[in-house]
Symmetry: C2
Subunit: 423 residues, 2 copies
């Protein structure tokens, strides 16, 4: 296979016939495959099967502080989990709020609070035209939250070492800019990790808006695929050094450690931020599900336990990534696709010829393979180049993932050839 | 013991000496008792012990629709629980949203949504001076939510058959009045149940605010203490008949059925309301903890299962209520206290001499008995008569509850005599 971009019209037409035939053969298989969301597979979830035996009638319902976890109370969660997440995130335990099953919910609630009660300043609902920085490509559900609240989503270029900080430093001079979404390690979908310099420049930001906040979603904080994973500098330490302790609000969860739907989420930050958040949560709820927290506390007694557990996840997921990457490698010479090769996280980010991503999505769908909608990783779901496709290799079985990658590659070729022929 | 209100000063002084001595004897016991919150006891929670064996490796993680409850998804909860709550609340299953562990959280979130996105009209944050009706005495955490959002809390008299509907019908002519808090069955703390007429008058309300909503917190919907419990008319059916289907938003939970901190909460209403709520939840979360929902679905397969289960709760709680009532009966002749005698729910509402409730609370605290803060059941925590005390007999053991009631009665007598002597 040679480079499509250097082919004559005749060569393209010949190549198209081959690619189309290959695609049609796959379509005739009537597949039903899903690479749309970053969902762990059943085998990943099986790794936490022990958890169900750890809280019950034989084991009791009390945590290390003697709290009966079945009853009301305990607004900010169990001490065991504050210790555990503190260790992982490099924060003091009392900087941690342990919540329910969804860190996304905690992010949403924090912005909802900011709307009605501010984050140290005026309620945001009093200001027209609030803006939020969205490093793109990024996580669609982040962008959706700020779109829901009517903010203007301002895209920021995401480089290999994090958001373009020149852009960020310029944009925050506008006092309507109230925050930025970050997935600092194994970013969704790019898989890149912010460099030390980027983290330090974040910590040193002096935004015009005094209540500007960095929403630091450390979703993949310990989600390595390989032994030599990426290192992320501690944003809170750097912010303290820079005299900006209140700048970041930090999130994490066990959604991809234990169970996506029944894990435990945390929100963390400076003592000041945590005090504000807790004062508001006190009106919202009597407390989180402490029994589920207890299950987690008993299963993961230390960060070391977690790291061991994550190696087992990696052993399941890594071959799936490599399977997709292996198929992509086979179409490398065509010159119509490039992709990321992350050391952790949940996604491969694929770039096809500009103007072809939606077509690839459609071709895949017609062949029974569901992809994340093209453009989803951009504010308002609009990829200006119609080029990016987020690949989530975690959910299908090892066998299915190979088939899915074959279908994907066939679709990439067909879409590119259609484009090049019509040009 | 005779009626304090008919005693001479000398008789009061003599009686005071006796009562004070009795109180001091109790104080010397250095008790540590808590009747402050409507918390079930450990024995109540033990009734659901079976639940922990119902979801695990032997039983699988799939619900009747084949959903793997460990993974992401399922915004509005499992079908089994929609069916179950539908049966209990007299609603169609698709009118039910099954959420996390806290119905209070769902109420808070609904009002937070109303603030930023309205409930069919303008966002409430655009309106200054929103008012909310608070039948009093009522539930402190309800009132606190609306206070948090800066609404003016307007007290409404709570009669034996529900809120004073003449007052309500007058107050809703003000378009700033956006809603009302209701605990329609075994009301917290009065224990009364709204009469059919009151429910029908609610259903027929024509509020000036088109987005007025009845927050119908049916927290004690199946929480009978006796076989012949109270009957509550179906608010939704009545609203439909009256042409007001969107008026009520209905809440319930298993907090006092399974576990207070790890139960399942629901929010329900007209198809229109449910569609609005779900459209917003889609931004807030990927879904609730379905594993905990599955535990509940497998334990409680039908409304009949639930009713049987609630009888066991009643067998534990009823004697505690009767113990308190028995002690109170002993001071009846003093004429300085009256109280409710509910057929269900979690509270006895005690009325002491006006101006004495805070003093009773203090006397009890000094003797090691924590009561709900006097006044808590009124908007802003201010009982205009300083007379009401909410008694929560559920949490202490059967033995402790008797001691607690003895302390309470001693304190009531001392406080009353102090007041009458100084008068």
């Amino acid at each position: 296979m040679s480079n499509y971009l250097k082919m004559s019209k005749d060569e393209l037409n010949a190549e198209f016939k081959l690619a189309k035939a290959e695609y049609e053969k796959l379509r005739a298989l009537h597949l039903s495959l899903d690479m749309s969301r970053g969902k762990p597979g059943a085998d990943n979830m099986d790794l936490s099967e022990k958890m169900f035996d750890l809280v019950g009638n034989d084991t009791g319902f009390k945590n290390i502080d003697g709290i009966d976890c079945r009853n009301y109370g305990g607004l900010d969660g169990l001490r065991e989990l504050k210790n555990l997440f503190g260790e992982i995130l490099g924060l003091a335990p009392d900087q941690i709020i342990v919540g329910g099953n969804s860190s996304l919910n905690m992010m949403f609630d924090t912005i909802a609070q900011a709307m009605t009660h501010g984050l140290g300043g005026e309620p945001w609902c009093k200001t027209e035209g609030i803006k939020f920085l969205c490093p793109a490509p990024g996580y669609d559900r982040h962008f959706a939250i700020t779109e829901y609240f009517g903010f203007e989503l301002v895209p920021v270029k995401l480089n290999d070492d994090g958001p373009d900080m020149d852009e960020v430093e310029e944009l925050i001079k506008d006092e309507k800019v109230k925050g930025i979404w970050c997935v600092p390690k194994y970013a969704n979908p790019e898989g890149i990790t912010y460099s030390d310099e980027v983290v330090r420049r974040f910590a040193a930001l002096k935004p015009a808006a005094k209540d500007f906040r960095i929403f630091w979603d450390n979703a993949y904080c310990i989600h390595e695929l390989y032994e030599d994973g990426d290192n992320l500098l501690n944003i809170y330490d750097e912010c303290v050094k820079a005299g900006n302790p209140d700048l970041p609000i930090i999130f994490a969860s066990t959604s991809k450690i234990s169970f996506p739907g029944a894990g435990v989420a945390v929100e963390a930050g400076s003592p000041n931020n945590v005090a504000i958040l807790k004062s508001r949560m006190a009106f919202q709820t009597i407390g989180p599900d402490k029994l589920n927290q207890l299950r987690h506390a008993r299963m993961f007694k230390s960060a070391a336990d977690l790291y061991e557990h994550m190696k087992k996840h990696a052993d399941i997921i890594r071959p799936k990534f490599e399977s997709v990457l292996g198929e992509l490698e086979k179409i490398k010479d065509t010159g119509v696709a490039r992709w990321t090769n992350p050391k952790g996280g949940y996604f491969i980010s694929l770039y096809v010829l500009p103007g072809c991503a939606k077509r690839v999505e459609q071709l895949c769908a017609n062949a029974g393979l569901i992809l994340t909608p093209a453009g989803a990783a951009y504010p308002y779901g609009k990829d200006p180049d119609d080029s990016n496709i987020r690949i989530a290799p975690s959910f299908p079985s090892a066998e299915d993932i190979k088939t899915a990658a074959v279908v994907l590659c066939a679709a990439v070729k067909v879409a590119a050839l259609e484009k090049l022929i019509e040009a």
